[in-house]
């Protein structure tokens, strides 16, 4: 326990700012998860590993001498096809089945991804240098690395593009129709198989963007995927499926929570507190729902 943050309230500003900026990134990953959960009724445990893979794509570009910021364009394109391929290979076989099957199957995929990344990129932590500067306020007490601002801005941009695409394009409408009622959409001539593949591809592409941003703002490591999965899962549960503003807000909320937990409980409990929060949210939700059920009775 450490209460420095209360002794120096200016640090709260820092924590809140950091939390909001990182939360936007979480929200982007969560939006991908909400999309494929809503459309295909699948929980993807490999979500976090897709993110990390996307990060490694940006990192490889950095190694090749290209500025890693271009990763936010290249990585989603590659990841879209990875997602598409993954759908054709495995996911299409679990779409209409028990949710638990999808959890376990994607868990298997996550293990394979982790190991392959371990073989290709090594188990060491790597970073992609963006070379972006830092803005300082209040006599260097509060710092805002430009890389985090960049990542938040790109996340917002991608979210907006995606929303417009979902509203306007033909595929976007097909995806939304399938989410509402897959059978009816099929009857009306929507190729649901293609819609599913595209949805999973878009989800993977969003993970790719997020991964490239993480490569610039944080560090990459083959085994850090799961916390990202859990965070996005949590955000989706709180926000509900297909509610983008709520996803954004709960993403930021989670980010701020984490930063404060980090300062107060200590960094060693950060991941633990995220997982504990997940349990608490689920339990809270269960009691809320059961009250509703009694009320309905």
């Amino acid at each position: 326990m450490d209460f420095l943050i209360f002794e120096a309230p200016i640090l709260m500003v820092q924590a809140t700012l950091d939390g909001i900026l990182i939360g936007i990134l979480f929200a982007l990953i969560a939006y991908g998860m909400a999309l494929q959960w809503g459309v295909m009724n699948i929980i993807n445990i490999a979500q976090g590993d897709l993110v990390i893979l996307g990060g490694y794509i940006a990192y490889s570009m950095y190694l090749a001498g290209i500025h890693p910021a271009w990763g936010v364009i290249v990585s989603p394109i590659i990841m879209f096809f990875v997602g598409w391929g993954l759908y054709k290979l495995v996911i299409n076989k679990v779409v209409d089945r028990d949710l638990f099957i999808s959890i376990l199957a994607t868990f298997g995929i996550a293990i394979v991804f982790q190991q392959l990344m371990n073989f290709i990129f090594g188990a060491d932590v790597v970073v992609a240098q963006s070379g972006y500067g830092t803005t300082m306020f209040f006599d260097n007490i509060i710092t805002l690395p430009h890389s985090t601002i960049f990542s938040a801005a790109i996340s917002v941009l991608y979210a907006i593009v995606l929303v417009i695409y979902m509203k306007k394009s033909k595929l976007g409408r097909a995806i939304r129709a399938t989410a509402q009622n897959a059978r009816a959409a099929k009857i009306l001539g929507v190729d649901t198989e293609r819609v599913y593949a595209a949805t999973f591809g878009i989800n993977a592409a969003l993970c790719g963007v997020a991964g490239a941003l993480i490569a610039i703002t944080f560090t990459l490591h083959p085994y850090v995927g799961l916390p990202y999965t859990v965070r996005s899962f949590m955000i989706v549960i709180v926000a509900g499926l297909g509610n983008l503003p709520a996803v954004a807000i709960s993403g930021m909320g989670l980010g701020v929570f984490e930063e404060f937990a980090d300062y107060i409980l200590g960094t060693e409990f950060r991941i633990g507190s995220v997982f504990m929060l997940l349990v608490l949210i689920l339990v809270f939700r269960r009691f809320k729902l059961s009250r509703k059920r009694e009320y309905l009775k």
Partner: protein, 351 residues
Amino acid sequence: MKQKDLILYVGLIILGLVAPFIFPGFKVQLTILCVLIVLAMTWNLQGGEMGYNSFGNILFYGLGMYLCASVQVGMFFPLAEWTESGGEKTFVHTTTQFFQGMGVGLLVAAIIPTIVAGLIGYAILGLRGHYFAICTLGLGIAAGEIAGGIEIIGAGQGFTTPPFPKDIVDPEARGEFFYYLSFIMLIATFVFVKWIYGSRFKLILNAIRDNEDKAEAMGIQTMKYKIVGWMVSAFFCGLAGGIMGGLIGYIDSTDVAFDGREMGVFMVLMAILGGKGTLWGPVIGATLFHFLKEGFWTLILGWQYVALGVLIVVIVIYFPEGLMGWLREKYPQRFGEVIDEKDRKAQVELK
């Protein structure tokens, strides 16, 4: 029929009793096999019979492990000094102290997780389906992360469990002790689970799995039975954890105790591989899995996790009913199912 069963059981028990002498080099693996079977069987009570797919049984396993070791140390020496600075100070258990501590430790390791399961059961078991699965996954991982920050049980330094008493000179003794301990636990678990399989309790669990709301409407207090079912699992998981802790000799929060990424998933996978919702399925699944895994180790150095991941995907996609399910489909008569040919044809046509 009855006689054949008897021969089978007696044969297996004799095999289990003499195994460490036939394969003296494999005692540790055999001990782990017993533990794996126990974990798979008790997971099967929820996942298979009750329909609550838990990733969180590892919580009880890890809890049992830490409790057993802490009690074994704490009964005779100050625990905080034992774990301080990565266990620099050396205290030596005498032979009697070691076994007394182990006995009491195992008892505590079984009882406390059972109580914990009872306490959190009401909150957690109210969740349905995948919410339950993810929640228990979170619970297991959170426990590991938090245990890794608690000083008195060694925190990140790990917890070295008391070494086997030096007075017992025979180097084989330690292996034999832990093997027979786990074998006794295995038999106890099997007998208990088999008794459950013949009882009304199992039918209630099945009713919950098949349709919880209807079961409730029939007047079954589902919550009560769900909690009891979970407590049974917790009891044996805690016991298994306690034995494993003593066997490995070194407890690390995330890699040994709350090892959700390995043990937590393995127990699910083993039950599914063998066939969930059957008595023998988890036993066969665990045995097969253990041998596959040991095979992977030597043959594909470094690639075993890729193979494991592929195995998981293949099993859950192509054999979600497991070996027993596959056999059941192939030879339904052997499972005492009578199939009406006409009915079957009609069903096929309907599809």
